[in-house]
């Protein structure tokens, strides 16, 4: 194990034991630095220097929810990151967030020994090595110190929402390798990442959506239908290329041939409508190269079952663009909204269900831009946002 990993592990252990704010070496209290708020307030505050991205929210009751997100482990350093989780309780009409805990950290020296990120969690009934677990996580990870490229997707389970999550096996569930694509050398892309879990039956039948970045063709959103009723120790991994292409019929933004790459998904309570929040394309050309808005869509669940053709179901855009203007606080100076709005999730129950597709909540990621803030990488925050459909789903 590298020295860095030993330090991270020790720090995480401190957090798990004492619930302290994650700090750098030696457990020293750090100075809190405010992130620039140019729009609506974040759901919770973390110091500048720690980015909060890729949220996943499960609401376990009317008064309790958990937010999972990607966070770097060392202030102002992006050399490693992990899956943090915060518990929130509703008090006086306001969600109170507790201190972050580590739900999943990089492995010692495995395929995800560099970083883990972009997790999604769903409730259900899962068996692993003979033990029952009520929470399943899908996450992206790699062995790199300085980038998220060549990611693969792993699974982990936990008996409690706060974790810690136990990895399912030592190999990724969805694998990716640059060697799969060309005889002339490696063109490493982002690999397979951005998983989104939906429980199909509120038990063991799971829909797993994910993104795959193929250097030869196009980036696409795929999905798998997984019957996880057997012991997960027997679950065989597969190549990320062998998922089902999610139809992009009806998906439209300012880019041709857009699809639901990087999206988060949920089902309505009756299980008949699939709802999605995705990044609005094209993404910004300047740093950070992420989306400037998110889009909300819905489709009949049959979009997952039918082959794509002229008569197959299509997506309906419910809210074309949630952008900076939607995040402005006009009553206050200096809050015209966020220039970067991306990587959103649907706030759902533990099974990724929402009551209906007309009104629900999102949590999105905001960021400052390099042109304004040199520390833009460490400014991302998470924000709640109430969605009203512009059209009837």
């Amino acid at each position: 194990m590298s020295m860095r990993k030993k330090i991270v592990s020790a720090a995480v252990a401190l957090i798990l034991g004492a619930g302290l704010i994650l700090s750098g070496c030696g457990g020293k209290q750090e100075e809190f630095q405010a992130k620039p708020e140019t729009g609506i307030a974040p759901a919770f505050s973390e110091s500048l220097g720690y980015f909060n991205e890729n949220p996943s929210v499960i609401t376990l009751s009317e008064t309790e929810k958990y937010v999972y997100y990607t966070r770097n482990d060392e202030k102002f350093s992006d050399e490693s990151e992990y899956i943090a989780v915060r518990r929130a309780t509703l008090s006086g009409g306001v969600w109170q967030y507790e201190e972050p805990m580590a739900a999943l950290i990089p492995s010692d020296d495995g395929w995800d020994g560099g970083r883990v990120f972009q997790a999604d969690v769903v409730c259900g009934k899962f068996l692993f090595n003979g033990e029952e677990y009520g929470f399943l996580m899908a996450y992206a990870g790699n062995s790199l110190q300085n980038s998220r490229r060549a990611a693969q997707i792993g699974l982990a389970v936990s008996k409690s929402a706060a974790g810690p999550f136990v990895r399912v096996g030592e190999q990724p569930f969805l694998s990716w390798s640059a060697d799969d694509y060309s005889q002339y050398g490696q063109e490493t892309t982002d690999g397979v990442n951005e998983p989104s879990l939906v429980s199909y039956d509120k038990a063991s039948k799971i829909l797993l959506f994910y993104s795959i970045y193929n250097p030869n063709t196009v980036n696409s959103c795929r999905f798998l239908t997984l019957d996880l009723s057997s012991d997960l120790s027997e679950l065989a991994g597969r190549k990320g290329e062998r998922g089902n292409v999610l139809s992009n019929k009806g998906v439209a933004d300012m880019e041709t041939n857009s699809n639901c790459v990087g999206a988060d998904f949920a089902l309505t309570e009756d299980g008949q409508t699939l709802v999605c929040v995705r990044d609005y394309n094209p993404i910004a050309a300047t740093s950070p190269a992420v989306a400037q808005a998110v889009q909300v869509l819905s489709a009949p669940v049959q979009i997952l079952m039918q082959t794509i053709g002229d008569a197959s179901p299509a997506w309906t855009i419910l809210n074309d663009k949630i952008s900076s203007l939607d995040t402005a606080v006009w009553e206050e100076d200096g809050k015209p909204g966020y220039d970067r709005i991306y990587s959103a999730c649907i706030v759902s129950d533990g099974y990724a269900r929402i009551a209906n597709a007309q009104e629900f909540s999102l949590m999105f990621t905001s960021s400052s831009v390099a042109a304004v803030n040199a520390a833009y990488k460490y400014t991302p925050m998470l924000h709640d946002f109430a969605v009203s459909a512009e059209v009837t789903a």
Binding site: D180, S182, T225, V245
Partner: protein, 751 residues
């Protein structure tokens, strides 16, 4: 094209093997030359097909009623168009007193009379035109009910009709050689409650009637219903008892009817199987260093006629009267070795077999009748031994001087006595395949169906190869009587010198493995990429399989492999460094031609998409594309997978995984994949310069093209096990309940 199969399916005939021998005819040596007959289709009504050109134009069926019918405002004729051609017809009505009226308006396409037409299975009332003395139904008229306005008939004789005693239904055969229709019934009809004025129907109140109201108002009295005729035997009996009559243009019974019109309840195909062995016959091929013709008038090799000619039968000493057809026992030794047959009659006229479209019977060694297609005025044989049947009416007179043959003039324009028979092959520089083409011919015969006579004109198995070679060919044959190279064949000496004669080898006579089963679930198999193994070595197999598929573009190689538990075709791209020639934009190409043993190979109507069993033996992706070609209005039109971000559906037959992946401008097949792919036709677009944008499978498909970019795929291989069409919707592989049927489910249906 409108089709309706009512009884025996063509494929059922292949499966059940109904080819049967009739009485053996004249036999040469111990070889058995026999007639073969096969049932094609049984119709609801009766089929009528033009097969000749009578001098007086019309041949008619006369129908005599026991009890005359009353005259009604309309005569109803129900029919179907069985040809992709016009189906004009005339009707003549005669009453009990001998008065006769007919559809006799001459006019023109601009000067015509109108009658009514209800297309089959519609609620529409359209109009059709009467001119040139007949109901001139163009090829777009697919079939339905014609309502002939009786007030528009022309009087031939006498007074107005008092009743209808006889009806004569005629086809203008002399001017419509492709006409073929199904006659269902003829009735008198009226529209109850509606009246016709100035071409418009109206009710009693003068309100215009809708199409549905017109159709609903029709009251018919049947004059003759051909659907009530149950068999050809019953049909023959009706002709025998003169309920039905076979008549000429003057409505008189004629014995020549059958020479010009084929009709019946059940359509059968007659052909011939010659018994001579192609391995004992003569192989005709071109030298690899042949001097090919140029289309540049400045070139020393310029020839207006790019075809070469070699005589395969010399009957000048005793010309033979042409019977019904020419039969040729042959085998293409290289797939799709395009050729023509030229017959010279005793007055020096040249007649060519090879047309712009169509097909001719070809009886394979197992006695089953298939078809050999013709297009681009050539015949396109599959690499398979059998007997080609060319009925003499399909030969077309060549204009004087158009063929580079000594004898090629125009005289009486009738093929009378056969004096010479030539094989002709393309020798043009622009034909990339010219030097690869080779054909073995064992015998040529003159056939008469009526007398059931098979007269061998030339038995090429009688010749033995000698070492005595002349300057024209590499091989000469003993017994120079009927020798094929005794005299210069044609005017161009250099074209004469291109021919190479010899004997076919065992490998050259190898055949493809028959496609069995032809259907796998919802898939129709077009090719199984396998040869009929007769104990060949691997080297022979690699050579043989290469003769069935044409390669083009950058260098690539074919070999026979085993994959998926069966023989398969391995296609290996050349090396980008050593093989790159910048041909065809850097692409390797593979042509898959129609396979005769596949059921209706070229008919893709009703299919939802293409499917292939492929294997990528590499651990990384390999890219390829697939296209198909049609001939539309004499032009080759091509469609290929043409849209980025299209979805390809896949089923791995080893792991059972079903998944899908998007395309770029080509298909990137995942590494280590082995199984079925499905491509919906909606992902195909036209990429030829001309042709309709919308795919139209009413036109036959003539070939598949598979391409692969040489640079990306240098030295890489792609293995093909099957190619076919799928016909049913399928669903994404759904692990939960209530999902639909995936690819493997669809393919196991009916198993």
């Amino acid at each position: 094209m409108f089709r309706k199969i009512t009884a025996l399916l063509f494929c059922a005939i292949f499966c059940f093997g109904s080819g049967m021998s009739t009485m053996p005819a004249n036999a040469a040596s111990e070889a058995e030359n026999v007639f073969v007959e096969q049932t094609l289709q049984t119709y609801d009504g009766i089929y009528m097909q033009v097969k000749g050109s009578p001098a007086d134009n019309y041949r008619k069926i006369g129908i005599v009623a026991d009890e005359p019918l009353a005259v009604q405002p309309f005569l109803s004729v129900r029919f179907r168009n069985l040809a992709d051609a016009a189906v004009p017809f005339c009707v003549t009505l005669e009453d009990s007193e001998g008065n006769k009226w007919k559809t006799g308006y001459n006019g023109s396409p601009q000067d015509y009379q109108e009658h009514f037409y209800i297309p089959e299975d519609t609620e529409e009332v359209q109009t059709v035109k009467e001119y040139y003395g007949c109901m001139y139904l163009t090829k777009e008229i697919g079939g339905g009910e014609i309502l002939i306005d009786m007030t528009k008939l022309t009087c031939i004789f006498g007074a107005p009709l008092t009743d209808i005693k006889k009806i004569f239904f005629g086809l203008p055969a002399a001017y419509n050689p492709a006409e073929k229709l199904e006659l269902i019934d003829i009735s008198s009809a009226e529209t109850e409650g509606l009246s016709l004025s100035d071409g418009e129907f109206s009710d009693a109140d003068g309100n215009a009637a809708t199409d549905a109201e017109i159709i609903a108002s029709l009251q018919r009295t049947t004059f003759f219903d051909f659907t009530k005729v149950s068999s050809d035997e019953e049909l023959d009996a009706l002709f025998a008892d003169r309920t039905l009559l076979k008549c000429n243009n003057d409505d008189a019974v004629t014995s020549t009817f059958d020479s010009y019109i084929a009709l019946g309840k059940t359509e059968t195909q007659k052909a011939v199987s010659l018994g001579q062995d192609c391995m004992e016959g003569i192989k005709y091929s071109l030298r690899q260093d042949s001097t090919l013709t140029s289309d540049d008038p400045e070139s020393p090799n310029y020839c207006a006629d790019k075809f070469g000619y070699i005589r395969i039968a010399d009957l000048t000493d005793a010309p033979v009267a042409a019977g019904d057809a020419l039969a040729i026992k042959m085998s293409a030794l290289y797939n799709k070795s395009a050729f023509r047959i030229i017959v010279i009659d005793s007055d020096g006229e040249a007649y060519r077999a090879g047309a712009a479209a169509g097909e001719y019977p070809f009886v394979s060694e197992d006695g089953k009748i298939g078809q050999m297609p013709t297009y681009y005025n050539c015949l396109w044989p599959e690499k398979k031994a059998g007997t080609l049947l060319l009925e003499y009416p399909v030969f077309s007179l060549q204009s004087a001087g158009s063929c580079d043959i000594v004898n090629n003039r125009v005289a009486d324009k009738k093929l009378g006595e056969i004096a010479e028979i030539y094989l002709s092959m393309d020798m043009a520089e622009t034909s990339g395949e010219a030097k690869n083409r080779k054909i073995a011919i064992a015998s040529v015969a003159n056939v008469e169906f009526g007398s059931e006579t098979i007269d061998i004109l030339a038995d090429l198995t009688k010749y033995s190869v000698t070492s005595d070679k002349n300057e024209i060919a590499d091989a000469n044959f003993a017994e120079p009587k009927n020798s094929v190279i005794a005299v210069p064949m044609e005017k161009s000496a250099f074209k004469n010198g291109n021919w190479v004669l010899g004997r076919a080898t065992v490998a050259e006579l190898a055949e493809k493995a028959p496609i069995s089963p032809q259907r796998v679930g919802d898939v129709k198999i077009l090719d199984n990429f396998a040869i009929l193994d007769k104990g060949y070595s691997q080297e022979e197999k690699d050579s043989i399989i290469g003769d069935f598929y044409s390669l083009y573009g950058e260098r690539s190689y074919l070999s026979a492999v085993s994959a998926g538990g069966k023989d398969a075709l391995c296609w290996t791209m050349g090396n980008y460094v050593t093989d790159y020639q910048n041909v065809s934009g850097g692409y390797c190409g593979l042509t898959v031609n129609p396979v005769a043993s596949a059921q209706d190979w070229g008919d893709w109507s009703g299919a939802k998409g293409m499917t292939l069993w492929v294997k990528n033996p590499q651990s990384h992706e390999i890219s390829f594309n697939i296209a198909f070609q049609q001939v539309i209005d004499s032009q080759t039109v091509s469609y290929r997978m043409d849209y980025e971000n299209s979805t390809v559906y896949a089923a791995d037959t080893r792991t059972g995984e079903e998944f899908s992946f998007p395309t770029s401008t080509t298909i990137y097949l995942p590494g280590d994949f082995e199984g079925w792919l499905r491509l919906d036709f909606s992902v195909f677009g036209r990429y030829s310069a001309t042709g309709p944008d919308e795919i139209d499978f009413s036109h036959e498909v003539i070939a598949l093209k598979i391409t692969s970019y040489l640079y990306d795929n240098s030295d890489m291989s792609l293995i093909f096990g099957y190619v076919g069409l799928y016909y049913e919707d399928f669903s994404v592989n759904w692990a939960f309940d209530e999902g639909g049927k995936g690819i493997l489910d669809r393919m196991s249906e009916g198993a």
